[in-house]
């Protein structure tokens, strides 16, 4: 055990959970199950990026859907028009989101009031959505950007050429799972690093951190940039997974609501929270397909109940989650 890095040793449950998730393609090749779990993992990474800003750094923003969408559109457009492989353009998307994140952070640094922060970030995300919706020549707006290439095939030793098209749900699953594992490993390492501890100190008390000589500006800027980078990268993965983008689906407020619900339900400020929240909500949302029109109601009620009775989320609710029937019950 000593050989393992600290971040891995720190949360054995999370990592065994992630490892188990990676085994799913060995158990089933059901395209639907893989599709749903792939989406759940995408939302988990996205929620994790927001969780870094909100849960760890206390930067209570409501505009992360903008970074997700920027990553998605930048990657999709440069792959379509530049003829580059999504493996490359994905990083364009992430960097673009990170740059915008850093720029947005500058005015935010002056704002310490929570509602102002919430409203301004929401406004910013709406501006990005409107831009995207109106630049029809570039993005095709609400007509939908179609014809986005999937990730190009990779040559894997022992397996030959592995492709990631709509027909290859298992390989795509493994690809997204790798992104999830890498993101969580990175975040796990980050929040335990010196920088991570300073970030959390800022969350707990800006004044105290400031009085210790910590540069709030630098750390907030750093956190939001990293967080936007991650959101942009997963947005790009989403684009090359779903293959169609519309401003509403990749930048809409519904995305923000979903992300908030996932993070809060799972447990804000914990590494495993977004993953748990995403699995529980996505799987139960699929289960609730039969309930049809009232899926959103379940989302809303769940947010209210969690905030009222389990403000620390399911990740810290050992009692509830300890019952094995719970996860299966959610899927029913």
């Amino acid at each position: 055990m000593r050989l393992l890095p600290a971040w891995l040793r720190a949360s054995p449950r999370l990592w065994s959970g992630v490892a188990l998730l990676g085994l799913v393609p060995l158990i089933t090749r059901d395209a639907y199950v893989l599709q749903v779990l792939s989406l759940a993992m995408i939302w988990a990474i996205f929620a994790s990026s927001w969780n870094l800003a909100v849960g760890y750094a206390g930067l209570k923003t409501f505009g992360h859907q903008a970074f997700f969408g920027i990553g998605a559109y930048v990657s999709a457009l440069s792959a379509m028009h530049g003829g580059l492989s999504p493996w490359v353009t994905m990083w364009f998307g992430a960097v673009a989101a990170a740059v915008v994140g850093a720029l947005v952070c500058l005015p935010l640094l002056r704002i310490r009031s929570l509602p102002h922060l919430a409203i301004v970030t929401l406004a910013f995300a709406e501006i990005v959505r409107i831009l995207c919706s109106n630049l029809v020549d570039l993005t095709r707006g609400e007509l939908g950007l179609a014809g986005i290439p999937p990730f190009t095939p990779l040559s894997v030793p022992g397996l030959g050429l592995v492709s990631f098209g709509p027909a290859d749900r298992a390989s795509t699953f493994v690809l997204i799972w790798s992104c999830l594992a890498a993101s969580l490993a990175f975040l796990g390492w980050l929040v335990r690093s010196r920088t991570g501890l300073i970030i959390q100190a800022i969350r707990d008390s800006q004044v105290a951190a400031e009085s210790l000589g910590v540069s709030l500006t630098r750390y907030k800027l750093f956190t939001l940039t990293i967080s936007a980078f991650l959101a942009g990268a997963v947005g790009a993965v989403y684009a090359h997974f779903v293959l169609v983008l519309t401003p509403t689906s990749a930048l809409g407020i519904a995305l923000m609501v979903q992300m908030t619900a996932i993070t809060l339900v799972g447990g804000i400020g914990t590494l495993q929270g977004p993953l748990i929240g995403s699995l529980v909500l996505t799987v139960s949302a699929e289960g609730l397909r039969m309930a049809g029109d009232h899926r959103m109601l379940a989302f809303g009620v769940l947010i209210v109940l969690v905030v009222l009775f389990a403000p620390r989320g399911l990740a810290r609710l050992d009692l509830l989650f300890g019952r094995p029937s719970q996860a299966a019950g959610a899927a029913r």
């Binding site: 639907y32 199950v33 014809g147 709509p166 299966a328």
Partner: protein, 410 residues
């Protein structure tokens, strides 16, 4: 939470996921439509229309399969108008429920564009509903082999544009519009329908020497058009074209247009055919030109019969979307019945040669792009004008029951 819990949870979910698909002796038609979210109004109307078709077939004993008949089950999945949600639903219907026919998506073009990427992996025939994006047809045309099992049951978005262009040509010969091409202004909503109408109409009219005065795009369900109307009055274009998908937005526009005493030629696309529109807009519609005049339960006998039958069965207001939904399901069940088999290839073969009259027109697919054919015989976009409270078709001449009458000539 222990490792054991994780395992149990994961295994439980997977087992549950695997256990659901069971075979039975019935014909399963899957439908992906927006049952919640911004387009839920349309989605729910479509669903009700489809249910009516299913009920009618089942009342007759079902569709022919092999020697006997099998009853039909409809399985609905919600897309929330979001591509990834729609794709998940389609995946479920195709791989888990193993439906014999998929209508997906019944409404949003963006969702249909996403779902059609699934088509090459499955043998099941897939048909999009009201999605009008030309991109869908172009993709099928460009790769016939890949998308041979994907069909598009609505015409392309440029149908409206073509109808409008031809109409303006007539108007120009009558001297009602400037001979060398005039100035056109758009007020449309921020949807694929709104955007594509602007693109198609302005492209066609520019070729005829027209210029675009302004394009005003408003959010979905927008209802305060006074700033736009003030601007239109200041610009004074020769023709104003509007597109909305909600009858409310359209009614608000027409009402406010009237209240502001606007005199320009105004053509409304899509929203006036929604039955609720006439009720909401009242007398303000007088003189307005609109298209497509497809569903008219007040005057067309076929439509009236359908509306009565549907109202009795569904106990709800019958609008164009209900009729559309009915026709899509009729199409699906007709081809299965004709194939007398649940074999996907047999069904696809029937789709290729289907020629089915329905409430909304005659359905036949263009073999070059698997798209519903357009024209006076098939689906069409007749232009009507409200004259003394009644919508009369004024174009194409073959169908016309009246001639264009300028405002104030009553």
């Amino acid at each position: 939470m222990t490792i054991r819990t994780w395992i149990r949870g994961a295994v439980g979910a997977v087992v549950l996921a695997l256990a659901a698909g069971t075979a039975s002796a019935e014909v399963k038609v899957g439908v992906v439509l927006p049952a919640s979210g911004p387009a839920a109004t349309t989605g729910i109307s479509l669903r009700d229309g489809m249910r009516l078709a299913v009920n009618e077939w089942n009342a007759r004993g079902g569709v022919r399969v092999g020697a006997g008949q099998q009853s039909v089950t409809m399985i609905i999945e919600d897309s929330q108008s979001r591509p990834e949600v729609g794709v998940s639903g389609a995946q479920k219907l195709l791989s888990r429920d193993q439906v014999h026919f998929l209508i997906g998506e019944a409404f949003a073009s963006s969702v249909s564009l996403a779902i059609m990427e699934l088509s090459p992996q499955f043998r099941t025939p897939i048909m999009s509903g009201q999605s009008i994006a030309t991109a869908i047809s172009n993709k099928i045309r460009d790769d016939r082999e890949k998308y041979r099992r994907f069909f598009k049951a609505n015409f392309n978005s440029d149908v409206y544009a073509i109808a409008l262009r031809d109409f303006t040509q007539v108007m120009r010969t009558q001297g009602r519009l400037p001979a060398g091409g005039g100035r056109i202004a758009f007020v449309v909503e921020e949807t694929d329908a709104g955007r594509s109408n602007v693109a198609d109409v302005s492209r066609l009219l520019r070729e005829e020497g027209w210029s675009v005065a302004t394009v005003e795009v408003v959010p979905l369900n927008h209802t305060d058009f006074f700033p736009q109307l003030s601007k239109l009055r200041a610009l004074n274009p020769d023709l104003v074209v509007t597109t909305f998908t909600s009858p409310q937005a359209g009614a608000s526009f027409v009402r406010q247009w009237n209240e502001q005493g606007m005199r320009m030629l105004h053509a409304g696309i899509y929203y006036p055919l929604i039955t609720e529109f006439a009720r909401l807009a009242g007398r303000s519609t007088e003189g307005m030109v609109w298209l497509p005049k497809l569903f008219d339960p007040d005057r067309v006998a076929l439509h009236r019969d359908f509306a009565q039958r549907a109202r009795a069965s569904l106990n709800r207001e019958i609008n164009t979307d209900v009729a559309y939904g009915y026709c899509y399901m009729m199409l699906a069940l007709t081809v299965i019945d004709a194939a007398q088999s649940l074999d996907p290839d047999a069904i696809v073969a029937e789709l290729q040669k289907v020629d089915m009259p329905c409430v909304m027109g005659r359905y036949r697919f263009d073999p070059t792009n698997n798209t519903a054919m357009v024209g006076a015989d098939y689906l069409s976009a007749p232009i009507a004008q409200v004259q003394d409270g009644i919508s009369h078709i004024i174009w194409p001449p073959a169908l016309a029951s009246s001639e264009y009458r300028p405002a104030g000539s009553r």
